[in-house]
Symmetry: D2
Subunit: 266 residues, 4 copies
């Protein structure tokens, strides 16, 4: 099922989220609490923003708990905006290109959840990726395909609408050619300035999503499950789209309704 | 550019081709003689047939010369039919799924060469892969796409015709949307009983291809470049399709002429 | 803590032990039942005997459940004698050279358990490895050191005595310079003809060890925990040394009493 | 033989040394000009200093030219002091722990060259590593052993003397138990403030070593071979020890004369 954590705020070491907390992301790779698969050992990845428009991206196939490169990077790299993910595969191979986050230009994206029956949908999903972005389709995951389709639908300039349309498209694809549950989604993405998060499901079970403002760090942590026992973690309701910018968060309804003509047919 | 070697005959250890000869395939991964890139260090793979219809497949990203698993396997595994490949990437990432050989059911395939301008063609190429075979499209190489399209065109039952059509299709795709040189091909594939090899180019430079009957082993070696200095290596002319079966080889012309309506448009 | 399984008998596919059973070794890499760490995702390895005196050895760092090379090998390789292991690290890095089994000439060895306080003992342990065998000391595990010391003490010709002495030596090393629990051991090793297993602890908790004769396969399975729910699995008592040869098993007491003068001092 | 490059000066992106120059370190991994092995594809590593006393360390086994993580890191990480290395193995396995640089506390070290007959010396070399530092002995290379012995001899406080003694010790070890050429060394190391480089050989062939002050970057580049064709690269004479600090470089004779009683005997 995967676990992830994202941060936006004053620069901190990645280790403040990945390693230091009692229930850090790396601790969750060994034993998560709030997801179907306790172990998330099918690879990991981090995308972090610095001086450049494009984020750095570091992904590998080892379990996060055993990779010394990740430990070193987390202790050295400072960033005010980053995404980190530990993976439990829902079917596709363990390889670097199937690890999250995914990056396209200055955009980064990660996902916990799945698109039902994706094995039977992958060709159709790949065909929905705009020609100009197909070079960024490097792996075989549902997550990467969803991301690139959303980018093609205007994720850079209209993040809510584009993500709604992309999710609606894949939900429809799954309903017509896939299997239930059609789509379950707790995702985060960024344009290098703001941090976005979505929580949605086509049925009643949406993967968990929380956030918390840290006064000490002056930053937002947005996570699959809380990093420590302390209070202050707010659960995002299913069907929500969050925009974190500076010290503000705005939460809007997330309504993926297919607006365009059906691109794949019934 | 890659180097490869295949064998059909009495059971031998894989090491008889991979390691033992003076200019073995692993030696060629360090320093090939007859190709543009002397070093072929972007991964390797072996597919070997035994008791089952499907071959075994072992691929990894380390240079072939440095992988102890490959050494061990080569010294232990006996087979009367196998394909082995060392890779020099023509653009796509170094990952297991981009290493040759590729396997689809009981068929295996490997390739030295390229399809010109493939970066711009990949989406169209992927779309040509039959829906039922898309689950086998695991990487991003031109070679894997060509193979799966050929399988869809009947490689199992009509190997020459299917490969001609597949090559013609990709040559056309490259001419309309890609770049010169459009297609260069020295490939080998097998159905578990026979060994096939093709040498073709859309221009005047076809990647090298040789074969030799070994009386001592009672088997055929089919290679990118000879494994030793000894005589007996016969060069396959460009535009040829070879069928090795038992102790016989039959060489026919290879004429990839696009017979079907253009599937991708101009 | 690790899980392992070994087999001696008529040739079978490795998959008969690694994949096919309801609680196969690969299933145990995801979720073992009878050990402290349910997840054994810090690498895996197999050593199998065929025509040669030295076994084949294939080890890698991915979790066993996610490695397609392992799947392929297990479905293709037949053997009448093999050792297979999935690792949960007790401290040392995840790397191929820290995965079991270990091989030295025609001998192979794997281990579940640990030597207490090994971090502080490693240099002393390394010094106990005979000069002539130091080239085989490739990693940093307690298991590999124990094995090589045992080889130096005559494991090839007097397996029981050599293993008793090696274990006694390391137990003493841990008592004088390490930490409790000093040594816990469920290990298997082979000389290419016979299969040996040991179960021992310096305290009251010895890692589990079972065996079973399979009438259908005509072979012995020796395991950390049973591969299926069926009856017939016999638990080996702590303090035992088992010798499997042909269709026979002989179980003797295992009494590691330090006979030589203390090689490391107090 | 390996190639390496180090930098001390104003913060720059690692890519300024690793990627951007015409004959960058990654270009040298494909095709070096001034060393025995043109290809250096047995892994790579970078150690870089930032805010912490300990440097970051990132090492992996892929050829440097094919690793996207390295590309990403190099484009993102700024540092005023770093070491980078691409490896051609002189015998030991390709694994992360055998890649340079090596790190011990706040010290980092990398090496091009070898200690003659090291296979036969490794146990003796390991015994020379102080007990307190043995936990940092993670691989099997001559380079890591030399480094840790030098640390034990006072590399932190008396870098010239400690390195002279360590080199003298290993040269003696090779002369008494190894093989010619006994020691060839072009090495760089750092304490997080200064950058040191050594060029030495027990015979007439010392691996190459150059340095250059960059006015535009306001920093020192110290390399195995020049990163571009431009003038200004100064060759360090064999038998020299260089200290780079701020905008100054001081070059002293390097005279490894064994001062202590022979620790290993004849």
């Amino acid at each position: 099922m995967c676990r992830w954590a994202a941060y936006l705020g004053q620069d901190i070491y990645l280790s403040d989220v990945l390693i230091a907390p009692a229930h850090s992301l790396i601790a969750q790779s060994r034993a998560a609490s709030e997801c179907k698969t306790a172990t998330n050992a099918d690879g990991f990845g981090i995308a972090w923003y610095g001086d450049r428009p494009e984020p750095g991206l570091f992904r590998d196939v080892l379990p996060a708990w055993s990779d010394p490169n990740l430990q070193s990077l987390a202790h050295q790299v400072n960033s005010g905006l980053f995404l980190a993910h530990v993976r439990a595969s829902t079917g596709t191979a363990t390889s670097r290109n199937n690890c999250h986050p995914f990056v396209c230009g200055g955009l980064s994206f990660m996902h916990n959840g799945q698109i039902g029956g994706f094995d039977a949908l992958r060709k159709s999903a790949d065909m929905l990726i705009p020609d100009a972005l197909y070079g960024d389709r490097k792996g075989a995951t549902d997550s990467e395909a969803l991301f690139l389709v959303a980018v093609g639908m205007g994720l850079q300039t209209a993040p809510l609408a584009a993500m709604e349309q992309a999710v609606a498209t894949f939900e429809h694809l799954s309903k017509t050619h896939g299997a239930a549950p059609h789509i379950r989604l707790a995702a985060a993405f960024s344009d290098g300035k703001r941090l976005f998060a979505v929580r949605y499901s086509s049925d009643t079970i949406a993967p968990t999503l929380y956030y918390r403002w840290s006064e000490s760090r002056r930053g937002w942590a947005v996570v699959s499950e809380p990093l420590e026992q302390e209070s202050g973690w707010i659960e995002v309701p299913a069907g929500s789209f969050c925009v974190f910018e500076g010290e503000n968060v705005e939460i809007q309804p997330f309504r993926p309704i297919l607006q365009y003509s059906d691109p794949v047919g019934d």
